[in-house]
């Protein structure tokens, strides 16, 4: 009976999804619970900060520059038809600080650092290193997972801020240096409309939330991966897909909460 088996499959997937949601929530709770030891051994977090933060630096800076350049070019093309080229600074800065900085930096972070985290932990599990730690009474969540979590949460807002700053520089490069928008009005209109609390701090808050989401998803997928080659590769794919979707969904929710046209 193909109908029965397909209904069975749908039901199985639904139950499995709910199961995984519950398991990942418990996993997130366990990370927070076992964070204390990783803060006492801060060199573990430093090590992970190097791998997630410092190693993501180049892609974030280059991508930020390119996005800023494109925003400058496109914004100029559009603003020109309204005769308000001087608002280019406002357009570039607001779109970067509020949206593009946190979101794009988080998407890049998910594919650069998140997938690496999943593959690393998945492989540790496949080669039974996690089980060996448990045998030696070392809690793998406190030793392996929590430092990676905090490194991701710390580095995400910093990377997003660098992305935005680099993007504004890219917009400045194209708008002021190449096209020749007036430099004074570029900066003064930008400063007149970008509010520190409303725009910049909200952007930092967004990237913090994205950092939590991406690292929890990556670490959970790694921890939950079947200990086979296919299992690890599937988990890595799921990390990128799910964290990208989670970032965009959270962005919708956060934007609706933060910017209600007030």
């Amino acid at each position: 009976m193909p109908i029965v088996s397909s209904v069975k499959r749908v039901g199985h997937r639904a139950v499995d999804t709910i199961w995984r949601i519950g398991y990942s929530t418990r996993f997130f709770g366990l990370i927070l619970l076992h964070s204390g030891p990783s803060f006492r051994r801060f060199h573990l977090i430093i090590r992970e900060l190097f791998f997630t933060g410092v190693m993501s630096l180049i892609i974030i800076l280059v991508a930020g520059l390119f996005v800023g350049v494109v925003l400058g070019l496109q914004g100029y093309e559009t603003l020109k038809s309204y005769g308000s080229e001087s608002a280019l600074g406002t357009l570039v800065a607001l779109s970067l600080v509020r949206e593009l900085g946190p979101v794009l930096a988080a998407l890049l972070f998910a594919s650069r650092a998140g997938s690496a985290m999943t593959a690393e932990i998945g492989l540790m599990k496949a080669t039974e290193q996690i089980a060996a730690m448990e045998m030696m009474a070392v809690n793998p969540i406190a030793r392996v997972v929590a430092p990676r979590f905090w490194a991701g949460v710390i580095s995400m807002p910093l990377l997003a801020a660098m992305f935005s700053a680099m993007g504004v520089f890219g917009g400045y490069l194209v708008g002021v240096v190449f096209i020749g928008v007036d430099e004074g009005s570029f900066w003064s209109q930008m400063q007149g409309s970008v509010d520190f609390q409303h725009d910049i701090l909200n952007g930092v808050l967004k990237s913090f939330v994205f950092g939590v989401a991406v690292t929890v998803i990556s670490l959970f997928e790694g921890f939950d991966a079947p200990p086979t080659a296919e299992g690890v590769s599937g988990a890595t794919t799921r990390t990128v897909v799910q964290s990208s979707l989670a970032i965009l969904l959270l962005d919708v929710i956060l934007t609706a909460l933060m910017f209600r046209g007030l």
Binding site: F50, A161, A165, Q191, I200
Partner: protein, 153 residues
């Protein structure tokens, strides 16, 4: 525990992150334009403030001298009451004219102060009596069309 090159890289990364935040706050954002010098409060009533918002700039002869801190409706007169804080270095005569102006045709609105000739100066909490409301484009167009209709008769 020894210092490693890893620490150097991570330190540089964290410093670069905070530098980027500071650039965003001071160069891109408005944190540097908030007045840290001492200020005093003045208020004024307007029939219509148009699109004026809190944190809008207060200028005299085009120079930034303060910011709008609060806007509320004076329920007894049904007029907008605007409270602004002005840099202490600048004093204005009692018969100063206050008006809401627009930078450019569609730019943001700000408050302009035009000093009068009175000997006495405005003090903390004083109200500026002479005010001119915002220019509302729709009203102007309405007046223009009404004027046309009058002259056509």
């Amino acid at each position: 525990m020894e210092r490693t090159t890893l620490d150097l890289w991570v330190g540089a990364f964290v410093v670069a992150g905070f530098v980027a935040l500071a650039i965003l706050a001071f160069k891109v954002g408005n944190l540097s334009t908030y007045n840290v010098s001492e200020s005093y409060q003045l208020k004024a009533n307007f029939g219509n403030i148009g699109g004026l918002k809190p944190t809008a700039s207060v200028r005299s002869a085009g120079v930034l001298i303060g910011r709008v801190t609060e806007i509320r409706l004076d329920a007894s007169r049904y007029e907008a009451e605007v409270i602004m804080s002005i840099d202490k270095r600048y004093q204005f005569p009692r018969d100063t004219l206050i008006s809401i102006q627009t930078s450019g045709l569609l730019g943001e609105q700000y408050i302009g102060l035009k000093p009068g000739v009175d000997e006495e100066m405005l003090k903390q909490g004083d109200e500026i009596r002479q005010s001119r409301s915002a220019m509302v484009l729709e009203d102007l167009i309405g007046q223009f069309i009404a004027g046309k209709a009058e002259s056509a008769k």
